[in-house]
């Protein structure tokens, strides 16, 4: 690992570290290591990870009776009809580019995850979160909070209506900017399948500079975090459409689940 020179951490410093991590991963792959689907928890270019990741290896749980092989359930009481539409939570229309984001939630065997909770949160079109600690001097939008939730349907499908979030600055290093993204939280049929992640928009020029996205060092895995623009999902005179399918990792005890 390169020792960073004293003084403010620059994008060049981060770019170098990102390239080193990518090269190290490529070398391990060449040595026969399997593909890595998730980020390394200790990923130096993302400075906040340094003191917040364990150094011991995880302890594998093989107990078929583990409680984590089951998980929480949610229902109609936990979500209202309007929760999936982030543009209808205030008296007026939010500013920005109206979009529909939809896709399916599957488990790693390709089976739909039915009736489970999907939660999202995001910045507004100007790149500002409705959060007191977001000090980015971009305007708040009184007609946009940026929180949504829904339950998946029988085919694992989910759908949100929102506005495209803006990019925003952060303090990982000098001139650090996050590409536009929507935060997602997902539940499967087991606690082991829990996933919190971020969805990105295709073609964003900030991708190579962002240590959070680049923490997924496998190119194919990283591409799975980027939604696809889908013209058939765009609604004439109304909104643009994006498709993003989500696959939950992790085992579940409910191998046979008929007609839930």
């Amino acid at each position: 690992m390169t020792v960073t020179s004293p003084g403010p951490l620059t994008q060049d410093d981060i770019d170098r570290e990102i390239a080193e991590a990518r090269d190290a991963y490529a070398a391990r792959r060449a040595d026969g290591e399997p593909a890595r689907h998730h980020p390394d928890r200790g990923y130096a270019p993302y400075r906040s990870s340094l003191l917040r990741h364990p150094r011991h290896p995880l302890v594998a749980v093989t107990d078929p009776e583990a409680v984590e092989l089951s998980g929480p359930v949610f229902g109609v009481t936990d979500v209202t009809e309007l929760d999936h539409d982030l543009t209808r939570q205030h008296p007026g229309e939010p500013l920005g580019e109206r979009i529909r984001v939809t896709g399916r939630v599957l488990d790693r065997d390709g089976r739909p995850v039915r009736g489970q909770l999907v939660e999202i949160w995001q910045a507004n079109a100007a790149g500002r979160y409705a959060h007191r600690r977001d000090a980015h001097p971009a305007p708040l939008d009184p007609n946009f909070t940026g929180v949504g939730r829904c339950l998946t349907g029988d085919d694992g499908e989910y759908a949100f209506v929102t506005v495209k979030p803006g990019a925003y600055p952060w303090r990982n290093h000098d001139n650090a900017w996050r590409p536009a993204h929507i935060h997602f939280s997902l539940f499967g049929t087991a606690f082991t399948q829990r996933l919190v992640t971020q969805m990105y928009f295709p073609g964003d020029p900030l991708f190579p500079y962002d240590p959070i996205l680049q923490s997924v060092t496998d190119d194919a895995a990283r591409a799975r975090l980027v939604a696809a623009y889908d013209h058939d999902l765009s609604t004439p005179e109304w909104s643009l459409g994006y498709r993003w399918d989500i696959v939950l990792d992790g085992p579940s005890a409910t191998w046979i689940e008929e007609g839930r």
């Binding site: 928890r41 594998a60 359930v73 309007l82 959060h131 939950l248």
Partner: protein, 193 residues
Amino acid sequence: MSPLPTPSQTVGPFYGYALPFPDGENIAPAGHPGAITVHGYVLDGAGAPVPDALLEFWQAAPDGSRSGAPGSMRRDPVTGGHLGRDGVGFTGFGRVATDADGHYAVRTLPPGGVPYLAVIVFARGLLHHLHTRVYLPDMPDMPGTDGDPLLAALEPARRATLLGVAERDGVVRFDVRLQADGAHEETVFLAFD
């Protein structure tokens, strides 16, 4: 062919107005005489409290059932706000953010059939959440920790990081150390493959 998993990304710093919900920490029905409190700190590799961590709890019901129940985060269709729990049912699920001191507290009922609560830790800086468990000190109607296969496989210093400590009647202390700080052992975190 099986589809490939969607990678994890950090929960970031701004989930606070989206994920926590009223009564998220009150898994036990209101006023239940058997309720216990589990509380503690989330700490980093410098021993500093982590004020932007989010913990989720999942557990067996007192009767041993693992089917859970809806209603953890009931919504009010009139105002669009939250209603809180109904005060009667047991959903088995809780969610609580750490406060500015890195402290959390949940109130729940001892699980049936196993002596532990499953815990997931999310935090800014953590690119992929972590699984751990709180093993509860001996309680009536709950099996002890002696025969537990996970605990049995750990050396004593590591095992101790999963053992909740009885502070007083009905109050259990459980700290999460994301990384060893030189003076304290790192919490045991779990993988499910």
